[in-house]
Structure formats: C-alpha cells, structure tokens
Symmetry: C2
Subunit: 138 residues, 2 copies
C-alpha cells in the first residue's frame, strides 16, 4: 500500500500524497505536474501547488523521480527498482515505456574511462509511433 511507502519515508499520510502516488502507480508512465493535477482534481480537491510541493518532497525522498524534461516541462514517475526509459512520439506526444534498461555495461565502462561516479542516467527516444506513421502515409 502506498501508505507504507509514506510512513517508511517519515512523511505524513495525507489525502493528496496517497492520491498522487496511486495515480502514478496506475499510470506507469511519466506525467507532467499539470496533467497529474487534472487527474487528481477528478477525485480530490486540492491545489496545484500542493502537487508541485509533494512531487518535490517525494522526489527528495526517492519515491518519485523526474523521468525527463521536454520543452521546459518536467515529467515525473514512480522511482522503481528497475527503472525504465521511454519513447516519446513527436506527433501525438504519446509516451510509451521501454522494458529493460540497456545501459548497464555502457555505464560501468564509462566510469572507468571518465573517472566519474555515475549516479543516474537519462535516456529518452523520440520518434514517430506506428499510428502516426500510418496517418502520415495518407
């Protein structure tokens, strides 16, 4: 349950937080604060700044992470053990997740050559999804 997630991190259990986490859980793909708020408002009443504040808190506590930033907008998702990457469709904006991160070996090789201690990476693909490709052919 997401109440456990919260108390384990020393955060108070509030309607807003429970709702945010369950939305992210159900969604299983990156979402912007604004869109998350739209879904949130259908169920709960609350303020957009509560969303922002909680996304920040949850990110600091490693419950949530910023998956990517596109056109000045941050996209959030639950931080999972096995993290994921996405492909974003340039036409319709659809974001679909990729299973299995392919970066393991690449990353450790890079640590050797650069001396960096690599803590995370961002990998996003952009392209055109099958449906939009069909539309283009018309």
């Amino acid at each position: 349950m997401n109440e456990e997630i919260l108390s384990k991190k020393g955060l108070k259990i509030t309607r807003a937080r429970k709702s945010i986490i369950s939305i992210l859980e159900e969604l299983d793909q990156p979402i912007s604060a604004e869109n998350l708020y739209k879904i949130f408002k259908e169920k709960e009443k609350g303020n957009l700044s509560t969303i922002y504040r909680n996304l920040k808190t949850l990110t600091d506590k490693d419950v949530v992470e910023i998956a990517c930033e596109v056109d000045g907008i941050s996209y959030y998702r639950l931080k999972q053990k096995k993290h994921k990457h996405s492909i974003i469709c340039k036409k319709c904006g659809k974001i679909i997740p990729i299973e299995n991160c392919p970066m393991g070996q690449i990353q450790s090789k890079l640590e050797d050559t650069t001396g960096f201690k690599i803590e995370s990476h961002i990998l996003e693909f952009r392209g055109i999804c099958p449906e939009c490709q069909k539309k283009e052919e018309k």
Copy 2:
C-alpha cells in the same frame, strides 16, 4: 566557415549569429542560453533575447540542437554529424562530453520491437566528477 552554414540555410549573416556559432564551435560542449550570452557579451554587444531568438532559429534549421534540459534550463550545442552525449557533475555542474555514441544497435533493436520510427534520442549521465569526489573525501 560559419557564414556558409548560415547562407546555406537561407539565414542572413549577422554579427550575432556568426558569434553564436563560433562560440558553440569553440566550446564543443552543451551550454545554456544565459552562459552563452555571458561569453557573447565579452566580444559583442547584444541582447539576451537575440541569443534566445537565434538559438531557436538555428535549432529550427538544424544547425543547433538542445542537448538536454536540466532543472528547467536548456543546454544547446551545434548539431553535428556524429552527435555526442554528456556526463553532468551533480556537485559542480561541469559538463563533459562522451566520445562515440553507444546507442546504434540498441536503437535499431528498439525500432523492431516497438514499431516506432526513432528520429533521435537523448542520453545524459549524472554523477560526480573526479575532482568533486576528492573534495567529498575530506
């Protein structure tokens, strides 16, 4: 010469544009509009909005690309034949380029499994650079 780049794209050759391109050329690593402007002002007089406007124009014309967005700031670089990726140090913000993009095979495999036509990808690593690691040990 960067004048050729501009006329080839049907853009007028102006002081600002020549300067922006040569700064990006010399730098060979992603830079924010604001920092680019600081370097720019040492040589030329001009306005920050000219920088933004030209970065936009040059991006539209595929001369420049947004390498990544971090904390709400876009980092630009010349769009090169062989594109590059970077590692960003979480402590000092240093950005260092990685030679050779490792994504070739991964990308084509992904096109097969997802049906997407992949046009580009973003790959950024974050970690701690050797110097900052030393400082932490103190």
